[in-house]
């Protein structure tokens, strides 16, 4: 009989946490580089200025993170966000007393888009990349038609834009919304059965099905929740910008995916951290701000951004985990059959 060793709780925690370390190292590096080249970029005023942009990216990235946790991907983010932002303009019709109706409509339409994605992907088992790309195109068509129903570059009600101009504890309210969404997700994923099911379904849908978890329902639900988050970001964007454009969602196609990847999520599904995704969103926003502050040419900005994403992939959570596993295995020496410790590590 083989004696199986169980790793200490500390080792397991270290291994799990190690996948999220690169983003914290990256933001630390960004702070160091900024303090040398553009010290003003890390001052309190500058950070306060980019807080809403970082929060918007974080909210969309958190939605994308939930989808990635199920092993999927969502390319309908820009369309959903744009449509929600424009609904805030079109439905509110610049009237303060219609802001509530506009918000409900925007988020409701977002949920509907998520439901369509979820049914096609979770229910009919279609490829998420193709489905969400196609749904994104359909939304783009709808946006194109919808914007003709009101004057281009129209504004949201002044009460809404005035709210976005306020400061709570010196920071824009959109930042606090982003932070609140992050905290809710952390708590939900860690302490609620629904949240834990998200992770289990993503890590191993077959086993989940065997133990009675409604895999299809969870997959549909995750796309709905993600789309609602995109819509929330769209509402916040409309408030921030006042007169959102049709192109408002363009930066949110690759940005959220990059944040999820750099945040250490497993693209194969399963583990992800809302906190590290939030940090990754702010890292990307800060990096963009630094490049703009340096006045770098657009071409170079694209190159740097692309290299950072590649770097994020190179030190992705999965690779970190494998690296840590390898180191631990070598320290333990060669063994026979797959040990329980390995299983424990893999299921993290």
């Amino acid at each position: 009989m083989t004696t199986l060793r169980t790793p200490s709780k500390a080792v397991t925690s270290f291994v799990v946490a190690s996948r999220y370390m690169p983003v914290f190292l990256a933001i630390g590096l960004l702070v160091i580089v900024s303090s040398i080249w553009v010290p003003a970029a890390i001052g309190p005023v500058s950070l306060s200025a980019i807080a809403p942009a970082g929060a918007l990216l974080a909210i969309t990235a958190l939605g994308q993170m939930l989808v990635v946790m199920t092993g999927g991907i969502d390319l309908s983010t820009p369309g959903t966000l744009t449509l929600a932002a424009l609904i805030m303009v079109g439905v509110s019709d610049q009237l303060d007393d219609r802001i509530g109706l506009a918000m409900v409509t925007a988020i409701g339409v977002g949920a509907l888009i998520g439901l369509v994605n979820g049914v096609l992907i979770g229910g009919l088992k279609l490829n998420p990349l193709i489905v969400t790309l196609a749904v994104g195109q359909v939304i783009a068509g709808a946006v194109s038609r919808y914007v003709r129903s009101f004057p281009v570059q129209s504004a949201v009600p002044t009460t809404l834009s005035d709210w976005a101009d306020t400061r709570y504890l010196g920071v824009n309210p959109v930042f606090w919304i982003g932070l609140a969404v992050t905290v809710v997700l952390i708590l939900a994923l860690r302490y609620t059965s629904v949240g834990r099911r998200f992770q289990v379904v993503g890590a191993n849908p077959v086993s989940s099905n065997v133990v009675g978890i409604r895999v299809t329902f969870n997959q549909i639900l995750v796309y709905v929740v993600a789309a609602v988050l995109y819509a929330v970001a769209g509402v916040a964007l409309a408030a921030l910008r006042g007169n959102p454009a049709v192109s408002a969602g363009v930066p949110y196609l690759l940005g959220p995916i990059a944040a999820v990847v750099i945040g250490g999520a497993s693209l194969a599904g399963g583990l992800a951290s809302p906190l590290s995704t939030l940090v990754a969103a702010f890292f990307l926003t800060g990096l963009n701000q630094m490049m703009l502050a340096l006045g770098l040419p657009t071409a170079l900005q694209f190159v740097v951004f692309g290299l950072v994403i590649i770097g994020g992939m190179l030190v992705s959570g999965d690779r970190i985990i494998k690296g840590v596993e390898r180191v631990l295995r070598e320290r333990r020496g060669p063994r026979g059959p797959k040990a329980e410790s390995d299983i424990a590590i893999e299921s993290g």
């Binding site: 194109s144 004057p151 281009v152 454009a245 703009l292 502050a293 006045g295 040419p297």
Partner: protein
Amino acid sequence: MGLLVALALIAAACGPGTTSTTAGVTTTAAPVTTAPPGTTAPPGTTTVAAPLSEYGEDINADPALVAKALGPVTPSEEASWNIVLASISRAHQDLDQATIDKAMECWRNKECDTGSGGDLVMGYADGGGDTVNVWRGVSHMEAILQALTYPEIGTIVSTAANFNQDAAVHTNDIKFLIQRGASFIVGYPDFGIALAPVVSEAEAAGIPYFSFSAGYVGLPGQEGALVPGQDYGGVVGEDLCALGQSFAEVLNTGVGTGKVGMLGGTPGNALTLGWQQCTTAALASGVELVNPPADANTTTGDTYWVNQFALDAVRGLLTSNPEIKGWVYEYSDGLFTALDAYKELDIPVQNITVALRTDEQTLFCDWVDRAEATYNIWYSAGGNFQSRTGVTAAMLKTQGADVPGQIIVPHVMRQVSAADCNPNRVNAVVSGTSLAPDSVLALMFGG
């Protein structure tokens, strides 16, 4: 300034034909000339035809409209100026309801039948679009209104790439217009030189391509650039280098000594590249550009003419250079949004000089509201009407007229005053210099 206004109005009213060097007057040796359509010369008299009249054009544009579109300018060289005047003379402001309805139909739909029974098909290819940018929407409408004055044009087909950052989208739009059988194409090529192959394809198919707003298909001198008038129909727009020098003059005078920031549109577009090159070279030694272009073929401060990106760019530059004392940019409304960066960074909008091309009312009315004596704006003209000039130039070309490859639109820098804010404008983002009648603008933007 008053003298300039008077001279410009006189020049506009009389047209180049009254000057001693104009072709229309000095070619009296010709035994027979063509009278304007619809007129008959008395027997036994020799008639001196007005320039372009043989092609059905009238260069006696309403001086008030010329002044509205351009300000108190000095006319450009004659061949260009005549086409500019001919295009403005068709910019009727008192349209009947049927024309307004038809214009709206054409503006809202990808294709429309003008109802004239004409054989020509006008293709309109915009790298932006009506639904993404007011300036683009107004320029599109001005082109449509101009086309409706030509009974030869029976169909208008419009495409919009909606600022898609993939040049292939705009390229495919132009390919579509070629296949659709356009007789000529008017448009704004946001990607400039990247569109050279498809513009050449259009020209090879016998479809002249005219761009407006200085939308060169590659700035002359750039590697791979097409030569306007030779490789494609032509380009309507300001003398970009002169425009850039005018911007620099504004900054040199207004800033004196200090830092300035420069913004532009789509990376590498010819309009931005053209003026930025000359602004950079003409800045005084005491004026420091915080974001100089990387090289002579690169634009700086790229914003894609999208307000959000303009805000990001200004925020970035202000973060590292809070003491910036001047900005230079084409797009007035983009700067209006970008000024939010001052609020975000707790920097007062003071001691700032701005040099702009367009004149959207949003920024100007915001300037009035701020009532800050040390914040001054200078602008040239929105230039929406240049799409009209593109249509007229294309129509002249289809009739075999000798059209210059570069139709130069004169410019003059004007300081914004309270009179430049019209709070009753149908849409605050519409340029004050647009020649689209208010009755049409009301339908376009009135909700």
